[in-house]
């Protein structure tokens, strides 16, 4: 007993460090501005957002030909969580093609998105009716990575289907005559991010 005591005390002093480093009293209580580590759930699984049950969608009714000022088009996309982890999503998008800048400069193409909206009307007069506005009057710029819906939507649980999103593109009624005959392509990207 007496022989091991002095050596033991040094180790015991050092071992007090475990209390300093590991105990919730030592490390967590004074850390109040961040999420406490207790209660953290670990996630494994996959994340898979699908639009209309697909991983890449080709629009069928958002395109317009012979657009005159005031022309509109609409299409509904169904968002689904086909993975095993919950997610929220954001939307980016904009214009491409040689005339993209001309449309963007004139703020000629605008996008509304409404949740639970339905498409009504035909041709260049199709619109979204009903539902709740997600974004209104977003001017499409010549940057296909521009933010369209920056506020995270959802979350969507695994297997859940979100509110159908009705996209509504408007060719401004004050679009300048210089845009006659010009064409731009539009691309949107819906990006899911796993929820913390």
């Amino acid at each position: 007993m007496s022989g091991a005591r002095p050596k033991g005390r040094v180790r015991a002093v050092l071992a007090l460090g475990t209390v300093v480093g590991l105990s919730p009293v030592g490390t967590l209580a004074s850390w109040t501005d961040t999420v406490p580590i207790t209660g953290t759930t670990f996630k494994s699984g996959t994340i898979d957002l699908q639009l209309n049950d697909l991983n890449a969608v080709t629009s069928t009714t958002l395109s317009m030909t012979d657009m005159a000022p005031g022309a509109t088009s609409a299409e509904v996309f169904r968002v689904k969580n086909a993975g095993t982890a919950p997610f929220t999503y954001t939307i980016t998008g904009g214009l491409g093609g040689t005339d993209a800048a001309a449309f963007a400069t004139a703020s000629a193409l605008k996008l509304n998105i409404s949740a639970n909206g339905t498409r009504s009307g035909t041709g260049n007069a199709a619109t979204c009716t009903g539902g709740t506005a997600v974004v209104t009057g977003v001017t499409l710029t010549a940057n296909t990575a521009a933010t369209v819906v920056g506020t995270a939507q959802g979350p969507l649980a695994s297997g859940a289907t979100g509110a159908p999103l009705c996209f509504h593109v408007t060719f401004a009624s004050d679009a300048p005559t210089t845009l006659q005959g010009k064409t731009a392509t539009a691309t949107f990207t819906v990006t899911a991010t796993s929820t913390p």
């Binding site: 475990t18 209390v19 494994s44």
Partner: protein, 315 residues
């Protein structure tokens, strides 16, 4: 005797293991207080296979300018969630940072705005699970029991040197508890992302078609001399309106006719001038009159003070 020996072995193991772990903790706490080194627990797996769910990473705060593409950095996004992904692009001048999870096919949708970020120095597989367990109630109780054991070992038994050792231990504990706050492990979502594109959208603006002049008739008749220009209405999804103007004078001519053929009559009889004039025909959108076509033109010759008009070239 054997029981006593077993207890002694247990005591030795507990002290030695505790001393090793405790020294690591003290070193870490010291680094945490001085350099800002901080543990991160990964709660999801978008940095797989380099960093898996439940791994523990050790980070150090750096300025954005010191980050390079390829580094793994941790930032707090605008929702207050800590994200740890690989750096794709750094714009230190604008305090912007783009990140991408190794297991994600695309970069995170939005750039992060930050003065600095926490650079991941290294990671310990499954270390996060261990740390999280340590922060739980079971581990807290065990740690408390261990603390009692340590105090028992250190408890002074009369001699001055023993009292000094225990005072030092108490000091280490107090100082350590005060400094320890900086090293709290934080959960980080190495968030997965999945991007779905919507393609095939083409927005083509209408071109108002140029009218096609089909006929021009000059009528030399005393007192009623005139030129009549006729053009065909081009097929259009819109009910186009037409306008005929004499370029030189600005005189607007009345357009007559409906359907596929329109015409405009230019009375020339009382014009006391000679020479060539041009009639411009333009089509326009009914809803947006500023959207006009390229003009079709018809030149008109006027002789004998308007008594003898004639049709010239048209385009």
């Amino acid at each position: 005797m054997t029981e006593h020996r077993l207890l002694r072995v247990l005591r030795e193991v507990a002290l030695t293991a505790g001393a090793v772990v405790g020294t690591l903790c003290l070193v870490f706490t010291l680094l945490s207080a001085t350099v800002g080194v901080r543990p991160l627990v990964f709660t999801s797996g978008s940095m797989a296979p380099v960093i898996e769910t439940g791994d523990l990473a050790v980070t150090r705060p750096v300025e954005l300018a010191r980050l390079e593409p390829g580094d793994v950095a941790s930032v707090i996004d605008d929702r207050g969630v800590r994200i740890t992904h690989r750096v794709v692009e750094v714009d230190a001048a604008r305090n912007m940072l783009r990140l991408k999870g190794d297991a994600n096919q695309t970069a995170d949708p939005l750039p992060y705005t930050a003065d600095g970020a926490d650079l991941v120095l290294f990671s310990v597989p499954a270390g996060g699970y261990v740390l999280t367990w340590l922060a739980g109630p079971t581990a807290t109780m065990l740690l408390g029991a261990y603390l009692v054991f340590l105090l028992w070992v250190l408890w002074p038994r009369g001699s001055a040197s023993r009292r000094a050792v225990s005072t030092a231990a108490a000091l280490v504990l107090v100082v350590g508890l005060a400094a320890g706050g900086t090293s709290a492990p934080q959960p980080t979502a190495a968030a997965w992302t999945d991007a779905v594109p919507i393609n095939g959208i083409s927005q083509a603006a209408y071109t108002v078609p140029k009218p096609v002049i089909t006929n021009c008739t000059a009528t030399p008749q005393l007192g009623q001399s005139a030129v009549t220009v006729t053009w065909s209405a081009v097929s259009s999804p819109y009910a186009l309106t037409y306008r005929a103007v004499v370029t030189q004078t600005g005189q607007v001519l009345t357009v007559t006719g409906t359907g596929s053929t329109r015409s405009a009559r230019y009375p020339t009889a009382r014009l006391n001038l000679n020479g060539t004039q041009t009639i411009e025909i333009t089509a326009a959108l009914p809803s947006t009159p500023s959207w006009t076509s390229v003009p079709a033109t018809q030149t008109v010759g006027i002789a004998l003070l308007g008594l003898l008009p004639s049709c010239g070239a048209s385009s």
